[in-house]
Amino acid sequence: MIDKTVASFDEAVSDIVDGAFLHMGGFASPFNMPSYLIAALARSGARDLTMTTTSASTGPENAKRLASALADVVTWPQDYWEPGLLAQLGQIRKLITSFPTGTGNVVWPFEERLNAGEAEVEVTGQGSLAERIRAARAGIAAFYTPVGPGTVVAAGKEIRDFEGVPHVLEHALHADFALIRAWKADRYGNLVFRGPRTFNETMAGAARVTIAEVDEMVPLGDLAPDRIHTPGVYVQRVVVRPSTPPASWEEPC
């Protein structure tokens, strides 16, 4: 019998070792971030991680400020942790990302690491990042895109003209683990998302092991075949978020 459920977040990330390459989903909202997987990774202490993320993220302190600035509009979940926490804890060696730094005067934890020479970054546009991850899921080794020539992202890469337009050759990004957030799952690992699906959908299947953090596990057959966004063959582990949030990310879960 297929059952991809894993009992705890700590167990789900237990084989993510130092130096692992991770795809990390979620973006632009506390409601689509794989927060419990991030917290478990923080507790595990795995270091020297290489990670793809849309954004390096703002970090716990800035997130708190944003939450109170938006308090009249959105009720912020208290169990929100993002990749900035891992940067703050010094667990990230390298990010491949489209937003490495804060805007204006805001300085993010990863940016502090960068400035201190303790981390490195490969800046890439979001489109090529998405396509490179999708290429890994789909078995494409590399592709030519018109986005990038004439800018820093093309440095050292092959440029070739197609119909007179320069294109840059971009390579697939295949990770050891993909950590994503979904809404509902069944025991096959079939996933349904809610809201913009961001990299959460894109990254599923682009790693040796895809781990989905979900709000709810439903019986097999409850998810209609036309409604499933991610087929279970892309997912190796599913962990359900607790109904009662822990007091802090440090609490085993």
């Binding site: 973006f27 632009a28 909202s29 506390p30 409601f31 689509n32 849309t54 944003l66 938006l70 009249d72 509009v73 959105v74 009720t75 489209s98 937003f99 490495p100 730094t101 805007t103 940016e111 960068l114 400035n115 970054v121 800046v123 890439t124 546009g125 979001q126 489109g127 090529s128 998405a130 396509e131 991850i133 999708r134 895109t145 018109p146 986005v147 990038g148 020539p149 004439g150 800018t151 820093v152 992202v153 998302f193 809610r194 809201g195 913009p196 699906r197 961001t198 990299f199 959460n200 959908e201 894109t202 966004h229």
Partner: protein, 230 residues
């Protein structure tokens, strides 16, 4: 009431009026991506007689204006910066890869984004501020390269008064030769064959006054006129 003291300049447009200048081009049925920051003002002033589909990179198409109170908030319907927006009938949620397939496949009619520098070749720099260790490219490179029309909506000069419309960008490029039109708080300019053509000036401004705060030589259109919102 233009300021007529010698050496001083007329008042500039505010962000809402700039947005009204930009949305003149949002035709009925247009698919439009608005950058975070000043371009988001456009969402508030789209004429109600036109259906414009707003696109956001993380997987959202067809949403409404930013919500500024808790009323009507769907916590799953938001744009970059964790800001909830108004859900609309016909809206679609997407994955990041499909969302960028829309951008890179040429399915966006108009992209409106902020700018730090635009030069005479239409090169755009808007991602890597001085002093920052790396660029925040986001989806700007994809949008500027692949949208059918790229509009830059920005203040004409930086906060220190330095020009943002320049002969040659000195900041790292977001994308080369991508800009079609620049809308600022004092002018509307088009990029044409290696020239920046001054099409419209803010009320009270002369082409010479616009030129005086611009870092590139402007070609003044034969039919240059005052900005009108019609």
């Amino acid at each position: 009431m233009p300021d007529t003291l010698p050496g001083t300049l007329p008042p500039r447009l505010d962000a809402t009026v700039m947005a009204m200048v930009v949305v003149r081009e949002f035709f009925d049925g247009a698919v439009v991506n608005l950058g975070i920051g000043i371009p988001m003002h456009c969402a508030d002033v789209i004429p109600p007689d036109r259906e414009v589909l707003l696109h956001s990179e993380h997987g959202l198409l067809g949403f409404g204006p930013l919500l500024r109170t808790a009323e009507g908030v769907d916590p799953y319907c938001f744009i970059v910066g964790n800001r909830p927006v108004q859900p609309q009938p016909g809206m679609v949620y997407l994955s990041h890869d499909e969302s960028f397939s829309i951008i890179r496949g040429g399915h966006i009619d108009i992209t409106v984004m902020g700018g730090m520098q635009v030069d005479t070749e239409g090169n755009l720099a808007n991602a890597h501020p001085p002093g920052k260790p790396a660029a925040n490219l986001g989806g700007a490179q994809d949008l500027a390269t692949c949208a059918k029309r790229t509009m830059i909506m920005m203040y004409h000069t930086a906060s220190d008064g330095s020009p943002k419309v320049v002969e040659r960008c000195t900041f790292p490029l977001t994308a080369p030769r991508c800009v079609d039109r620049i809308v600022t708080d004092v002018a509307v300019m088009d990029l044409e064959g290696g020239h920046i053509v001054l099409r419209e000036v803010a009320p009270g401004w002369t082409p010479e006054q616009v030129q005086s705060i611009t870092g590139a030589r402007l070609v003044v259109a034969d039919d240059v006129r005052e900005i009108s919102l019609v």
